[in-house]
């Protein structure tokens, strides 16, 4: 069942034309001693119906109501308008490949050009590429790009409030290079700009920040951007893709590179992948950028059209001197974001961001009415916050999950646990009692009230 057209007479015809008696003769190019002499040991072939039935049992929703998702930490349970699935489900989009032949790919090319245009509006930045893998690698690529721009390779300064998995990705990418990664601790949920000033020097390629940060809190991005610039380093900002609906855009702060995890823009969670790396920068750095770029131009008859532009930066031409090893973009996910931003529009994005924010504030108020439960940090937040409870977070979260409420992750899980081995630079003694709570526009008052009631019950029992 390999979706073949194979029939004995046609096979014979083809083999005769090739000049061999059977297919195995074609494989004589493979030395006999390395040919596999048995069938691969895999489960037997499976019909469509049988696989559908089996997978519905294995991958379907577990019995009972679906838990309400208050999980945060970089990807969120957002609503996806029906047009996103309908339009991106068209085979003309999702079974095409990288638009190497512009004349036969104007649909994809225009869509990506519109993606770049929408992202420029969203961020207030001058240029966007056609996307990278996801938010963490986008941060890494930003660090490498900063090195190319200012030719500084000694040090990169990362705020301790940047997503710990992003920090980890940067460390892994830099593991074999001599660049030092300096992490500035976030003492009260945010980083003190003076602590950044103390470590940024003439060897520093970039200062990497996140807004809102991993704890949900709002950082003083302006001060840190200014002091990065004063030291000749680039200001790199990872931002929440929904936040420009109500918060200042990255471009408003004058940062040099702004990146984001684009999943909230119309892509389901899928256990964390595929996601969407948003990558934008100042125009002056465009030729140092990683990833695909779509440009508008004219065809030879003077008609407007779109092409893969500035390809000479890329691996298939520059090889070891390329601006990145990345081959493609996240085409289909970028298309989802394009349709999403189009259908949500200017006012829809604002309303979505307001709903996330208001619900998060309401949740924070309700939850902190429970004795012993507090906001761990007294900073303003956008859509998620760190809650502190008297009991260990791991226990609380598993009891909440059993009661139909998914919250978290616990800070211990992401800063010290199995998911990330990033240095625990956040260093508060009670991190075992802290966890994240995030709200999207999808969370209802009833779900938040249930969350509060269940948490109260769990802590009292």
């Amino acid at each position: 069942m390999a979706y073949l057209f194979d029939s004995p007479d046609q096979r014979r015809k083809m083999l005769d034309a090739i000049g061999v008696s059977d297919i195995n003769e074609l494989f004589r190019q493979i030395p006999a001693e390395v040919q596999l002499q048995r069938e691969l040991r895999l489960a037997p072939p499976c019909s469509e119906l049988a696989l559908q039935q089996e997978m519905e049992l294995t991958l379907g929703a577990p019995p009972g109501p679906v838990p309400a998702c208050f999980l945060g930490g970089g990807v969120y349970d957002h609503f996806i308008p029906a047009v996103v699935d309908e339009l991106t489900g068209r085979g003309e989009f999702y079974t095409a490949y990288t638009p190497y032949q512009p004349e036969a790919s104007q649909g994809t090319l225009q869509a990506f050009y519109e993606f770049q245009s929408l992202i420029c509006q969203l961020t207030g930045m001058e240029v966007s590429n056609a996307s990278l893998y996801e938010g963490g690698t986008a941060v890494s690529e930003a660090v490498f790009m900063a090195m190319r721009v200012n030719d500084r390779h000694g040090k990169v300064v990362i705020l301790g409030s940047v997503h710990p998995e992003y920090q980890q990705v940067v460390r892994t990418y830099l593991a074999e290079l001599r660049t030092e990664v300096v992490v500035v601790p976030a003492k009260n949920g945010v980083v003190d700009p003076a602590d950044v000033a103390a470590v940024v020097d003439s060897e520093t390629c970039a200062v990497v920040m996140q807004q809102p940060n991993f704890f949900g809190c709002l950082e003083d991005i302006q001060s840190m951007t200014d002091l990065a610039h004063k030291a000749g380093a680039l200001a790199v900002l990872s931002f929440d893709a929904i936040s420009p609906g109500i918060l200042r855009k990255p471009g408003d702060y004058g940062v040099d590179i702004a990146v984001a995890e684009g999943q909230p823009l119309g892509t389901p969670l899928q256990f964390g992948g595929p996601l969407l790396g948003v990558f934008t920068c100042r125009n002056e750095f465009v030729r140092k950028m990683p990833g695909r770029l779509i440009g508008r131009t004219k065809d030879k008859n003077g008609k407007d059209c779109f092409v893969l532009n500035l390809q000479a930066r890329e691996q298939h031409i520059r090889r070891d001197k390329a601006t990145s090893n990345i081959c493609t973009n996240q085409g289909l996910i970028a298309l989802r974001a394009t349709v999403f931003l189009a259908v949500v529009g200017r006012l829809g994005l604002q309303q979505m961001a307001e709903l996330c924010h208001e619900k998060a504030r309401y949740a924070a108020e309700k939850l902190t009415q429970i004795p012993g439960v507090t906001l761990r940090f007294s900073q303003p937040f956008f859509r998620e916050f760190v809650l502190s409870t008297p009991e260990p977070a791991a226990d609380v979260l598993s009891k909440l999950a059993a009661a139909g409420i998914n919250a978290g992750p616990s800070l211990a899980r992401v800063f010290g646990g199995t998911v990330s081995t990033a240095a625990n630079t956040f260093g508060i003694s009670d991190q075992d009692q802290c966890f994240l709570v995030a709200c999207t526009e999808k969370r209802t008052r009833q779900e938040i009230d249930t969350f509060a009631a269940e948490l109260r019950r769990i802590l009292q029992s």
């Binding site: 339009l87 918060l247 691996q315 200017r346």
Partner: protein
């Protein structure tokens, strides 16, 4: 029949006040001021100036855009090295099942045991298909798989106290190989093209020494040939204490016929979107899982799915000396699952048949074209071959690119042109197994026709596509990369 009104830019279609109600009014009361409010200095003056377009216009816009594309669903797409095979519709529906689509990466393990079970099984399948026992599903794409494997090797060498900084690859290598090696901090050493399209063993011996970390090789190579001396190549590397990396881009040629682990590879990546037909998505997302030898297992990136048979429990774990993460979260699960569905559908026998038919189709197409176009590396290939328009160019001035463009007029996507770099006027063709004899015959006939057409007709092609050849020089000199650029 084209609707050019609908394919204006979204920004040009925008009209103030248009839009669609997607979200309801808030159902929660405003929280008190003891919950810290956002200071005015951090608030936006106005929301981003996204276009305001009505939903019916949006639908018509994207539906019309989609018709400007060639795709596997609509056209034969013999793009060499990319394995543009049929993307089964059943995968799309299965990938929308609840745990597959809606699981949050920080969700409790107890709620995603089914998903973890499937991912665990996929790790085992990829180990069996590669003959390499340890698998990480983590990398986001093939290129990231390369980088991940190189970092894994570097960590292993460091653990052993060895300092090896050189990565070797043949001239026919994909551009990602040197790009990944350079990104990982290695020194890149490119070998010459070799004779007959194969690695030159003498040159390899000369270059491999105690500084050599990894030799990266695509097998079958980018000329569509199986490296006949692959065992000797591996021995040369292993004798010098180095590792062999197999770029798995061409796995579609050898499924169930031979395995990288059996021919001396120590590490490899899969391109799930190629070999296991996750759709290409107009340029991603892909997935680039890697498989490695047992001694490298402890250095793989985290997380890995493990199974405790005593409790029948699946969990995420970090290998002992893990290099850490190369991306956020587990991996491109949505794509990995499509690969799993494909492998489950085909089984061992089906995978072997897929490769057999891919190789048969490629050889058949080669047999039909070798009299029209030169095929510099012989009349046998694996799943793809590289033809050359060099003679035609000398005779008529028609280049590989011209033929590629003219094919579009006949309703065929072009082959990969000008790669690999070691063949002049290269046209790399990979028909895949999911094409019929009728399609291959019709395609071959069209190429024959094109070679007979008046050269000026071919050189000015395409003539029937929505646009003709773009002015790439102006595009690159004065890049216009977003809508606001053309306003000014």
């Amino acid at each position: 029949m084209r609707n050019t009104t609908a394919t204006r830019l979204l920004f040009e279609m925008s009209h103030p006040g248009r839009g669609t109600q997607i979200f309801p009014e808030s159902d929660v009361p405003a929280a008190g001021s003891h919950i810290p409010p956002i200071p005015a200095t951090m608030k936006a003056d106005a929301p981003p100036a996204l276009p305001e377009v009505a939903e019916p216009d949006i639908v018509r816009h994207f539906v019309n855009l989609s018709t400007l594309n060639m795709s596997v669903d609509s056209h034969f797409y013999p793009l060499g090295s990319c394995t543009m095979k049929y993307n089964p519709k059943r995968h799309e529906r299965l990938a929308r099942l609840h745990q597959a689509a809606n699981s949050h990466p920080y969700q409790p393990e107890s709620q995603i045991q089914g998903l973890l079970k499937v991912l665990f099984e996929l790790q085992g399948m990829l180990a069996e298909i590669s003959g390499l026992p340890a698998v990480s599903l983590h990398p986001a794409a093939g290129a990231q798989g390369e980088l991940t494997a190189l970092l894994t090797a570097a960590a292993w060498y460091r653990h052993k106290g060895e300092d090896r900084r050189r990565v070797l690859f043949p001239a026919s290598a994909h551009g990602t190989n040197p790009a990944s090696a350079a990104l990982a901090g290695f020194e890149c050493v490119q070998l010459s093209a070799g004779t007959g399209g194969f690695v030159d063993l003498d040159e390899l011996k000369k270059e491999v020494d105690a500084r050599t970390a990894v030799f990266m090789i695509t097998n079958p190579n980018t000329l569509g040939l199986f490296e006949k001396d692959i065992r000797k190549i591996s021995e040369i590397l292993h004798d010098a204490g180095g590792l062999v990396y197999i770029d798995g881009a061409n796995m579609n040629a050898i499924l169930g016929k031979t395995r990288p682990g059996d021919f001396g590879g120590d590490m490899m990546h899969y391109n799930v979107h190629k070999t296991f037909t996750g759709p290409h998505g107009a340029g991603g997302p892909g997935a680039g899982p890697i498989a490695v030898r047992d001694f490298l297992a402890d250095f793989l990136p985290s997380p890995i799915v493990t199974h405790d048979p005593s409790r029948d429990w699946y969990s995420l774990t970090t290998p002992k000396h893990s290099i850490g993460q190369v991306r956020t979260f587990f991996g491109n699960v949505g794509i990995l699952l499509r690969g799993y569905f494909y492998i489950r559908t085909l089984g061992g026998k089906g995978l072997r048949e897929a490769s057999e038919n891919a190789v048969m189709n490629a050889n058949y197409l080669l047999s039909q074209l070798k009299d029209v176009l030169e095929v510099p590396h012989g009349d046998r290939c694996m799943h793809e071959f590289v033809a050359s328009a060099k003679n035609l160019k000398t005779r008529t001035g028609v280049t590989a690119m011209d033929i590629a463009k003219r094919l579009l007029d006949y309703g065929y996507h072009a082959p990969t042109v000008y790669f690999p770099l070691v063949v002049e006027e290269a046209m790399m063709m990979e028909p895949t197994e999911t094409e019929s004899l009728e399609t291959l015959d019709a395609f071959a006939q069209v190429i024959r026709n094109i070679c007979q057409e008046p050269p000026e007709l071919v050189r000015s092609a395409p003539h029937s596509t929505p646009v003709s050849r773009p002015d790439e020089v102006t595009a690159a000199r004065k890049p216009v990369l977003c809508w606001s650029d053309c306003k000014s």
